[in-house]
């Protein structure tokens, strides 16, 4: 782990700062929703704290400022939060964000390989985790010490290909994978616990497949951070993060239509008020 020693270890979290950032990112996404209707706002709000933690609390940087670790957004439809963070980090520009989903722009509803800060094209579910396994193997073979972080949706875990990758990650000893399952219990056609009751339990499934797995409160940055830093290690880690789809805006929370919809002006104003209140709470 010599590469790790020379890297900037950002393995720390300031919950108050995380809260302030997450408000800023949710506001940014909300503002974007007023210009373009094509975005998955509920899906991004569901994993806001998770993706914020990965970028600001977990991924380490090399001395030149580039990331030593890698993040792949397996649930590609949640990428508005990634875009907002990449803009904040200066990796995406204001102009990129302004041109989101417009002719001449390079950012679309799903992350595209080749765009700054985006390591893989996702959007079709069930692809991310296998690519994560390949990247984790490459890091291990070249002894870089690099960790691979990813966020999966709970719906995505219904894909058979995800389970192929779950099996391979542990069988191949990929202890440098840290995955978060954005467990919001909702997918396009309703509540997962209604449509797929045997989908649960989750932690036990990953444990049975040779992963270390824990449940954590998915909007609590400190709890998520501790789930990762207090792991035993030696195995890939799956943090089953209990989240709320559309978190922060009452009329969006757990209402499937907000998987796709953008708020109108009145709804927008209400959302702003509620998000501000969420931070003060």
């Amino acid at each position: 782990m010599t590469a790790t020693a020379s890297a900037t270890l950002t393995n720390s979290i300031d919950p108050a700062a995380a809260k302030a950032r997450c408000l800023k990112f949710r506001r940014r996404i909300l503002d974007m929703s007023q210009r373009v209707s094509a975005l998955h706002i509920g899906s991004a709000y569901s994993c806001t704290e998770i993706v914020d933690l990965i970028y600001f609390g977990l991924m380490r940087r090399k001395p030149d400022g580039s990331f030593l670790d890698t993040f792949l957004m397996s649930k590609g439809h949640g990428c508005m939060i990634q875009y907002a963070i990449l803009e904040d980090l200066g990796i995406l520009s204001r102009a990129d964000m302004d041109a989101y989903c417009t002719p001449g722009g390079r950012l679309g509803v799903h992350p595209d390989h080749g765009n700054p800060g985006i390591v893989a094209a996702t959007g079709s579910l069930g692809h991310g985790l296998s690519m994560v396994v390949g990247m984790a193997l490459a890091e291990k073979t070249s002894k870089t010490g690099g960790q691979i972080y990813t966020v999966l949706s709970d719906g995505e875990v219904q894909e058979g290909s995800t389970w192929e990758a779950v099996l391979m990650a542990s069988s191949l000893g990929c202890d440098n994978i840290v995955a978060f399952l954005d467990y919001n219990n909702f997918q396009s056609l309703g509540k997962t616990s209604d449509t797929h009751p045997t989908f649960y339990p989750l932690v036990e499934k990953f444990t049975a497949f040779g992963w270390e797995s824990v449940e954590a409160a998915g909007h609590d940055s400190k709890a998520l951070f501790e789930a990762v830093t207090q792991r035993k290690g030696g195995k890939p880690l799956m943090v089953v993060a209990r989240t709320t789809k559309g978190k922060g805006v009452s009329y969006m929370e757990n209402v499937p239509i907000w998987h796709y919809r953008s708020p109108n002006k009145q709804e927008y104003e209400q959302a702003v008020k509620e998000l501000e209140a969420m931070v003060r709470s």
Partner: protein, 304 residues
């Protein structure tokens, strides 16, 4: 052919630490044991999990490596098709998908193990390149090209075992993207690719014995197809014959006809392909090809 693939890949892996092979519970014999012994961290067996085979290859390539995915053609291209499309082609990664035993070589295993429409399917994908070497020597060249030169995804369609050497005295060397004259003549030109080239060579032998001047051409690069090379072959010969182990749609036969129209070719053009049918026949490879209408006698009679 799979043994020469194995040896060529082992050599490539020795020269370049970025060469990996990811297999799905099927491994080429021969030198692959040397590969897995000497470079265990670059030999990955996913088991019967072809979707993850392709995804893992994509992940390795995203980190700058040059992986090969290897299993029987139908399982390397069809089963994980969307991974091939999205992970490899959409992201334009230098991953080689090896389709071993392509066509109807697995004649006794039934239609589940046949790959009779792979050129059409792989060829429809943007960024995908297709190589289909005709003998063990050409397979060595094609494998080395994939390991060292390719800048994007390639479908490498290879045979199984026991294919005869046909290119030892070839008139031209292997060159990616160019048709390759194995023999040069003026009367008849036979265009073919892959394992079925042995039928084309038999036909060429027979025509030459009858005093005809025959060109025998390996169209090893099926994508990007050497349209100019084929156009010239159509112009320079009185008769052009296409023989391919592939359904009538999307392969060399229809593309040659399209080129012939585009360049207003005046030669006679005969095409012989597999039928657009699943044929339940459990004899030898030759028996199954004959059931599809591909037999040297029949082709010889048809083009007379």
């Amino acid at each position: 052919m799979r043994n020469t693939f194995s040896e060529a890949l082992y050599q490539a892996a020795t020269r370049n630490p970025k060469v990996y092979i990811v297999v799905a519970d099927i491994s080429p014999a021969g030198s692959m044991s040397k590969f897995s012994t000497e470079y265990p961290e670059r030999f990955i067996n996913v088991g019967v999990a072809e979707q993850s085979m392709i995804g893992i290859c994509a992940g390795l390539a995203l980190k700058g490596n040059r992986p090969f995915a290897y299993t029987i053609a139908t399982f390397s291209l069809y089963r994980p098709f969307e991974m091939v499309r999205d992970d490899l082609c959409y992201q334009n990664l230098p991953v080689t998908v090896v389709g071993m035993g392509a066509g109807v070589i697995y004649s006794t295993l039934g239609g589940t193990h046949h790959t009779q429409e792979d050129i059409a399917i792989a060829g429809a994908l943007a960024n995908m390149q297709i190589l289909a070497p005709c003998d063990p020597l050409e397979c060595t060249d094609a494998t080395a090209w994939c390991a060292e030169k390719s800048q994007g995804p390639t479908y490498l369609r290879i045979g199984k075992a026991g294919e005869p050497v046909l290119t030892k005295d070839a008139a031209e060397p292997f060159q990616f993207g160019k048709i390759r004259y194995l023999r040069r003549g003026t009367d008849v030109c036979i265009l073919s690719y892959g394992v079925i080239m042995k039928k084309a060579a038999e036909l060429a032998d027979r025509l030459q014995a009858e005093g005809k001047s025959v060109s025998l051409v390996s169209v090893h690069t099926m994508k990007p197809l050497d349209r100019q090379g084929i156009a010239e072959a159509l112009k320079r010969h009185k008769k052009v014959v296409v023989i391919e182990e592939h359904v009538p749609q999307g392969g060399l036969a229809p593309q040659t006809k399209q080129i012939a129209w585009d360049v207003k070719a005046s030669c006679a053009l005969h095409t012989f392909t597999l039928q657009d049918a699943f044929i339940h026949n459990y004899g030898s490879h030759d028996d199954l090809l004959a059931a599809h209408g591909i037999a040297t006698d029949r082709i010889h009679a048809a083009i007379a």
